[in-house]
């Protein structure tokens, strides 16, 4: 189980203060149900629809975002754990959408329906950030938590390798 830091307010405070966090470089506040998953803050409150709901239990990876640089399933990460956090979604991965992975995804025409691809790209970005030349085995290990029902896995592997090559 993931440890979730307590957000019990200091003595004398009856209402929790609003949670402040940074999303794609913009400061945001949240004062709703602290147990709400980050996914619904992004989708319903901020209208950042690139982060997808696929399973709600961390099994499909469609909601993957970066929290303080690490890949996180937004459907499981509760708002109460995000005070001061820096969140990056697919919309904020690159200012013009030209991250090497995004370019490679287009060059290889990876997406079919496209629904899982935001999560796949966000996961792959953290893989490349720590491993500049991932092997098939590295890719399989990093990406196995993501489901693509259209079956774009072979092209995802090719695109990650192409992006790694491009980033050299």
């Amino acid at each position: 189980m993931q440890h979730q830091p307590s957000l019990v307010p200091p003595t004398g405070v009856t209402m929790p203060a609003a949670i402040t966090l940074t999303v794609n470089g913009t400061a945001r506040q949240f004062d709703g149900d602290p147990s709400m998953p980050l996914l619904w803050f992004l989708r319903d409150d901020l209208a950042l629809h690139g982060t997808k709901y696929g399973c709600g239990i961390s099994q499909c990876g469609a909601c993957t975002v970066h929290v303080n640089g690490a890949p996180v399933r937004a459907c499981q990460r509760r708002m109460q754990t995000l005070q001061g956090a820096t969140v990056t979604t697919i919309e904020g991965l690159h200012p013009t959408g030209a991250h090497p992975l995004q370019e490679a995804w287009r060059a290889i025409d990876v997406p079919q329906c496209g629904f899982c691809q935001s999560g796949q790209i966000m996961q792959a970005a953290t893989l490349l950030a720590r491993n500049a030349a991932p092997t098939d085995t590295d890719i399989d290990a990093a990406m196995n938590g993501h489901i693509c029902r259209c079956g774009t896995y072979p092209r995802i592997r090719a695109a990650i390798k192409a992006a790694a090559e491009q980033s050299k």
Partner: protein
Amino acid sequence: MSARRSLPWLRVPAPATVHATTNTRREFLKQLGTGGLLVVAGTVGVRRLEAASASLTAPDTSEAEAWEPHAYIRLDEDGTVTIICHRSEMGQGIRTTMPMIIADEMEADWTRCRVVQALGDEPKYGSQNTDGSTSIRDFLPKYREAGATVRALLEDSAAREWGVAPGDVVAQNGVVRHTASGRTITFGALVRTARTIPMPVAARVRVKTPVERRWEGKTMTSIDLVPMTTGTAVYGADVVLPGMKVAVIARPPVWGGTVVRVDDTLAKQVKGVERIVTIPASPMPGGFLPLGGVAVIASSTWAAMKGRDALRITWDHGPNATYDSAAYKQTLKQSVRQPGQAGRTNGNVAQALAGAARRVSAEYYMPHLSHAQLEPVVAVAHVANGKAEVWAPVQSPMDARKTVAGYLKLDVADVTVHVTLLGGGFGRKSKPDFVCEAALLSREVGAPVRVQWTREDDLRHSYLHSPAAHRLEAGLDASGTVVAWHHRSAYPAIGATFALDVKGAEPDELTNGASDVPWHVPDMQVEICPATAHTRIGWYRSVNAIHHGFAIGSFVDELARTAKKDPADFLLALLGPDRTVDLSTAGLVKPASNYGATWTDHPLDSARARRVVEAVVEQSGWHGPALPRGRGRGIAVHRSFLSYVAMVVEVEVLPDGTVLVPKATVAVDAGFIANPDRARAQMEGAIIMAMSNVLSSEVTFANGRVVQSNFRDYGVARMRAAPRDVRVHLVPSEGLPGGIGEPGVPPACGAIANAIFAATGVRVRELPVGRQLAGWPSRAGVSDAGQ
């Protein structure tokens, strides 16, 4: 909640760029491997779109000012060519393939083309029901003709402007050129004239010859790549209307169940929950109508989900409360041990079996499967003043429109259906039950409503793929040649979802790859046996061809092993001499459907099957060095949706029973293929979907309820098991197109099972493979594995 709104029909895709090389994918990947990334020409940046206004009635201004010379084509005076895609995009690439055919034929400049999604309006566009792998096979001539007609119109317009003969001008990439003088005029500048002159007569409309084509049959970069890789593509749940509520519904756990009592005290205490609405159960069997249940309507998705969890509902589970899929499996197996209704009869199979040197029989079983498309079904509706407007990821917008109209007792003309991108469809989204839910709730609460299904809802209340039992028996002569073929199957029918007292599939449903097998066997009988449905049954990608492909593909391999022959050689012998067969006059019972096509246009052609088998044998290295124990190759061929697909799949089976697929080779004859890269992508995906179907996926029932809940217990193929090497060979053809989206799955199911046998000596006859292979190396009898 933010008021930002995304309006799918006002979205303008980033200018599409042309990547018109004829590189094969393999060459392409080779280029990638040997150096720099081959970047698609043009700018691939994010194009942020202006947030559209919030009025539901805001007209599409481009529509108001532009001119439609054809239902699929609009022209603007500024030169923009708008192509209206009337088929739903669910990953097959139709939003690229249809426009590229039209733009190619009309000599449009691709960088000036944009694509908008059609509203549900079949009188205007023709069939929009995106299933059965029909988009190109039914519409290719219409798309070509549409483009060619508008090209001729623009040429006529230029000729009139210049006072020259139409034969003296030619359209080229967005302009019309006067051949003699070289002067040009843009399509945009011709709109004013073009809209005043008559449409060209049929004789003036000339579809391009193959050498004149610029993109058809070659390569085109998909148009939605930028939105899909930047998070801006609009799927069902991404549509936001002002004042929109979110609904999550508790549906009857058992098909046919009803609400007896609701205690919503706790649900109403959840912050953000606004209303609780009971939706009546639709009369059985329900068809496209909602299951009924209790809806929690809230200001946010999270509140609606929490509210739904807090409901306390007493159900009457109805007549299917004892449905148990393990017991039902035995029922199906008993069914195929008795004679059924014949779907094909050639000769006298009983006599031929009796006279055979050797008889071989086997039974196969495949469980219920769910589409498990990654986007759970979802719909947005706004019903006000006697009109309904919906936005939803639907495969058949016209069915959605008619069903909503019937459900709310509105005129069809008062229902508007906008189609978003589909986050996978696979047949689930051709049933608009969820759209009806949204429409009903919107009317009930007087505000726009998004009905959000959770993953659990999607798995538990789907229209599931039929479980199926098959019994096959063959007679071999002394030389190992098949002389008799007797096939029986039983599975609950899709028809049972739409009519009471349906006791099984119709004999004609066997034409989806069971009765129309291309074998050269003189005495054949294919039968369908009774099976009653106890849950909603529906189409799932490839439909009954999935289990036809698994059972037939496996059985042919078993026969080859029995005859001690190489499975590929045996398959070629079974196909026999090259011949075409019109099965409507040679064995099939009427109506002898052929996927909606005539048998004259699409006869059963054993030569096409032979060629894909030979191609896949050659390209896979089938006759190469033997593989070590634990690895094996399997082969299968299947005709479905008018296309012929052969596969060789190589598996690696780990000692713990895990099955990996390192390599797969596919050969496809689907007639003319308009967009080869998307056809390859469909085949790559078909192998992986077949891996899920064969290896992992199963929906079971206990006490009438679906046992599984989410991807934790509904297994699907993941990256680790997926092929590292996939080769897809497309047979070059100018023939009438067949399907592409579905025909890849059935042969893959057989080929995977056969590869497992080759690797381990274990013949899996009941799916999914699951844990059946755990510890296989220590089992007795595994040494007779094939290659």
